[in-house]
């Protein structure tokens, strides 16, 4: 009798704890406000740094302290940017984006599939280990000329380049995550007689959602690196081509504008993955 009562007490204590989470105390409000203020401070400082940097650059260029022929200058970059059509900027941007996305998707899908195969078979995994390590250490840009000879100087070569750079890293990152899944959780699934496919889909993959998204974030950057270096070599189109071309004919405005567009593209792609991650995690 006494025990049952004690029991109930403990259960209701647990309830209170959980309900409390919904209420906000004064101290909590204060704390939240402080955090908000801090975030605003950081944001304002970041914006100021950019604004001041641009202002100094512009002033130095206008007063002739630096040679705008070599360094370009913000107002001219803006002009080039607004004059998108005359330089065919949009067309080149589209080429780069398509190449990056295709390279990224191929690298991610192939990388994840290969990682799963290696997780499944420890024999294949052990056999391929030294090859993966060497391929990972090899600077893939060195393969550029070979790739061009093999697949021809065009979009396919650039996509292969992006793939070469992102694939091995994807395999290694994802495999590392899969292998390090909590062994106890896998054993728990085995107590219900789970087969390997069920362990993969119900335990190992969901446990590695954040590993997967981190890999995606790294990958999008790497694909862009692959695409730009591919465009440097192939020199037919894309932002990478524009940069090389602009450098050769000393159109520094075009080079700088291209670099800034590249930064924006990278930021947008990274941000899309973050948003996708939030959506996926919320749905769970």
């Amino acid at each position: 009798m006494k025990n049952a009562q004690k029991n109930k007490e403990i259960k209701s204590q647990e309830n209170v704890e959980i309900k409390n989470k919904g209420m906000i105390s004064k101290d909590r409000k204060k704390y939240l406000k402080k955090i908000k203020l801090r975030k605003l401070e950081i944001f304002i400082t970041q914006i100021s740094i950019v604004v001041i940097f641009i202002a100094i650059w512009e002033i130095l260029a206008r007063t002739g302290k630096i040679d705008s022929f070599i360094t370009s200058q913000p107002s001219r970059i803006l002009k080039t940017f607004l004059d998108l059509s005359s330089n065919d900027l949009l067309r080149h941007l589209k080429i780069t984006c398509i190449e990056t996305l295709v390279g990224f998707l191929l690298g991610t899908v192939m990388g994840i599939i290969i990682a799963i195969i290696l997780w499944w078979s420890s024999f294949i995994s052990k056999v391929s280990e030294p090859f993966l390590v060497i391929l990972n250490a090899l600077p893939k840009v060195a393969l550029g000329p070979v790739i061009i000879i093999w697949v021809g100087a065009g979009m396919p070569a650039i996509i292969v380049m992006a793939l070469a750079i992102s694939l091995i890293v994807t395999i290694l990152n994802v495999l590392n995550g899969l292998i390090n899944t909590d062994k106890e959780k896998i054993k728990m699934a085995e107590t219900f007689n789970a087969n390997k496919l069920q362990i993969l889909t119900k335990i190992v993959m969901p446990a590695n959602i954040s590993t997967l998204f981190n890999t995606l974030k790294v990958n999008i950057g790497l694909s862009l690196v692959g695409v730009i270096s591919g465009e440097f070599l192939v020199s037919k189109g894309g932002i990478g081509y524009l940069i090389v071309y602009g450098g050769q004919v000393f159109k520094l405005d075009l080079v700088m504008t291209s670099v800034i567009i590249l930064a924006i593209v990278a930021a947008v792609m990274y941000e899309s993955i973050e948003i996708l991650e939030k959506i996926v995690i919320k749905q769970k």
Partner: protein, 256 residues
């Protein structure tokens, strides 16, 4: 009452040796025991002697080198950690076993809901594991195991991750649940008093390689016995001293 109950789990001459690159580890040597329907049996023994190995072999997760296991019924196995999946709600966690065994029928879902309601977890069914206390999580893990309707339950130090106070409560809780559902239990623990307070029979294993040293019958002659009320019985300390001395003997040998 006096009628002999049938045995539903038998281990005959079980041997187990692990092979590893740096040598062999002999874990079990000629282990024999028998469990009758409805019994609550505990296994105690020096740490690292092979208790978990024995349970894994009974559950069929680990190969044995020799011997036979007879099982008449369905095995449920609960590990030390609750291993709740933090990306699933409590309800989805509880359904995991049924999902794996392709048994997600309406009838089974209703049974799970009934269990959740009966054991005070229904209102938390859409919460996530991190929002629950350790004791509640352990109860969720138990319901996940009960959902597949086992008739024999294996518990491997299922309560040792809890703090003392919670542990007393949870063992009391879970004991009642198991008696309620008429489940036969084989429990590994390193806590002698936990073993005495819950069991009808305590199996004492020797140090590694483990073999059965003694089997104690525990009987408090208390009506509606619970783990908490039998701790107050004078017989409790008698049993405790008996088993403690038995175990101490092996621990001494191990230290040498």
């Amino acid at each position: 009452m006096t009628e002999e109950k049938k045995s539903i789990l038998k281990a005959n001459n079980i041997y187990k040796t692990y092979q590893a690159e740096n040598g062999e580890i002999e874990a079990l040597k000629n282990v024999n025991f028998e469990i009758k329907q409805g019994e609550f049996v505990s296994i105690i023994g020096p740490s690292g002697c092979g208790k978990s190995t024995l349970l894994s072999i009974v559950a069929g997760l680990e190969e044995k080198n020799d011997g036979e296991i007879y099982i008449d019924g369905k095995i449920g196995y609960m590990l030390q950690k609750d291993n709740l999946l933090e990306w699933r709600t409590i309800y989805k966690n509880v359904l995991l076993g049924l999902e794996i065994q392709n048994a997600l029928t309406e009838e089974n879902k209703e049974y799970v809901i009934k269990l959740l309601k009966k054991y005070g977890l229904y209102e938390f069914k859409n919460k996530y594991p991190t929002q629950l206390s350790g004791g509640m999580r352990q109860r969720v893990a138990l319901i996940r195991t009960l959902a597949i309707r086992p008739t024999i339950l294996l518990l491997d130090e299922a309560f040792s991750a809890l703090d003392y106070q919670t542990r007393l409560m949870v063992t009391d809780d879970i004991y009642k649940i198991l008696k309620n559902e008429k489940i036969t239990v084989l429990m590994v623990t390193h806590d002698i008093s936990e073993a005495i307070s819950m069991s009808d029979k305590v199996i004492v294993l020797s140090k590694r390689p483990a073999t059965v040293k003694k089997i104690y019958d525990v009987n408090f002659e208390i009506e509606s016995r619970t783990p908490l009320n039998c701790r107050e019985s004078p017989k409790f300390s008698k049993y405790f001293n008996l088993m403690w001395k038995e175990l101490e003997q092996y621990e001494k040998c191990t230290e040498k």
